[in-house]
């Protein structure tokens, strides 16, 4: 904490850190709750190609790296009191919603790495999965607009 005097909040960096943390957090929920605790998702689907598995490996690595990097960016901003109030929440939600939507469309449907759940009418689960992502994106967007207008709760 070299800097004591208040400084201008760094909106851009706060958003980047919050988005990275949101992506990492949503991915962690996916791995811990849906893969391991509920065991809805399969680790690998039978018939996955090596290429799809490699893309899965790359994505998984990015999630982990984002979580650690996002945390360090936040620590650094905190150290010089430059976290922008009002932007952490929307950034986090946009990261979570963005990951959830991407996961539902690209991982589950395009790459076919695994499905949400192995039941009939999986499309119901897909709609819920992607819908949850879109809702988080919408709330994140709404909160971002409020922060831009200086009306976020933490800005009062």
């Amino acid at each position: 904490m070299a800097v004591q005097s208040p400084v201008a909040p760094d909106i851009r960096r706060t958003m980047i850190a919050a988005i990275l943390l949101g992506i990492g957090f949503m991915a962690a929920i996916d791995e811990i709750i849906f893969h391991q605790l509920l065991a809805w998702h399969h680790f690998v689907d039978t018939g996955s190609t090596a290429l799809a598995l490699a893309s899965d490996g790359i994505l998984h690595t990015m999630e982990l790296v984002f979580l650690v990097v996002g945390a360090f960016l936040m620590i650094e901003l905190h150290g010089r009191r430059a976290q922008a109030p009002g932007y952490r929440g929307p950034g986090f939600l946009l990261g979570m919603g963005g990951f959830q939507t991407f996961d539902g469309i690209v991982d589950h449907k395009i790459l076919g790495l695994h499905q949400v759940r192995y039941v009939e009418h999986v499309w119901l689960y897909d709609i819920a999965w992607i819908g949850a992502g879109l809702i988080m994106l919408a709330i994140g967007w709404k909160l971002l607009q409020r922060a831009r207008q200086g009306q976020a709760t933490s800005q009062q």
């Binding site: 598995l53 360090f72 010089r80």
Partner: protein
């Protein structure tokens, strides 16, 4: 279950354990000796000694005869040994800064000779993150996706060599990416972070490949056993890799805080 070779009787395994315990004890005592000798001129951080001790203990656990025996019969236990030797023990050994301690203990001439040796081209190539990653992760692809694994189970010397490879390549990789020792020829931060990310992705992909295609083949293990081993590799590997990412980010954080101007204005710094 893996077919048993008569060569791998408990006696031979006990001998391997004894030799390994002896080497680990020697390593640990050398470190303690180095700390003891120089502690008066400059205190050595206690937590580095603790880390080295933890690293040595992790190595020792991997050579407990009961675990060695289990690892010989069960792919999952083999994976536990692999994680202990190649991924967790190196974290303790490397972040204990053994090279710094060694330099502090060497006479000035010896220190210069060591630094010169580390600067020679072959050593520089060998300790480059890309080479280290190839040896470490590439070695794993070779081991699990070729008949090498089954061969190592039937050949005691090959098995010992493999254990040694896990320790050395894991330590080399950890050191080349995030070692705290001064290394004048270490590539810049960005390169090391990039190599780490590629290595992590390669490791995660290997875990998925082993799971999907039932490697290593020819062990006679059922598919559930192989899949569980692959999953352990995947998730426990994450943990040790996350520590490496955090170590690199700590380097970034310290440098950035040093570079911040005293009035708090942002000095835009590219992480090099």
């Amino acid at each position: 279950m893996i077919h048993h070779s008569s060569l791998h009787d408990p006696m031979a395994m006990g001998a391997t354990s004894a030799v390994a315990f002896g080497l680990v004890a020697l390593l640990w005592l050398s470190y303690l000796g180095g700390v003891w000798r120089t502690r008066r001129q400059k205190p050595w951080p206690w937590w580095r000694t603790l880390l080295f001790t933890a690293g040595c203990l992790t190595l020792a656990v991997a050579f407990v005869p009961a675990l060695m025996h289990a690892a010989h019969q069960d792919v999952r236990m083999h994976m536990v040994v692999h994680l202990l030797l190649g991924m967790f023990a190196p974290l303790g050994l490397v972040f204990a800064a053994p090279m710094t301690l060694l330099l502090r203990n060497l006479p000035a001439g010896g220190g210069r000779a060591l630094v010169r040796f580390l600067g020679t081209r072959p050593v520089r190539v060998l300790t480059h993150p890309v080479t280290a990653a190839m040896l470490d992760i590439g070695g794993m692809y070779l081991l699990y996706m070729t008949p090498l694994y089954v061969m190592s189970m039937a050949t005691p010397w090959l098995s010992s060599l493999l254990h040694l490879h896990f320790v050395i390549s894991g330590t080399l990789f950890t050191w080349s990416i995030a070692g705290p020792d001064p290394a004048p020829h270490r590539p810049r931060w960005r390169t090391r972070m990039a190599v780490l990310c590629v290595a992590m992705a390669a490791h995660a992909t290997l875990g998925k490949l082993l799971y999907a295609f039932g490697w290593p083949r020819g062990t006679g293990a059922d598919i559930e056993e192989l899949q569980q081993a692959a999953m352990w590799m995947y998730y426990w590997g994450d943990l040790s890799e996350a520590v490496l990412v955090a170590a690199l980010m700590l380097v970034w954080l310290r440098r950035r805080r040093r570079l911040m101007a005293p009035d708090g204005s942002t000095v835009h710094m590219s992480a090099t």
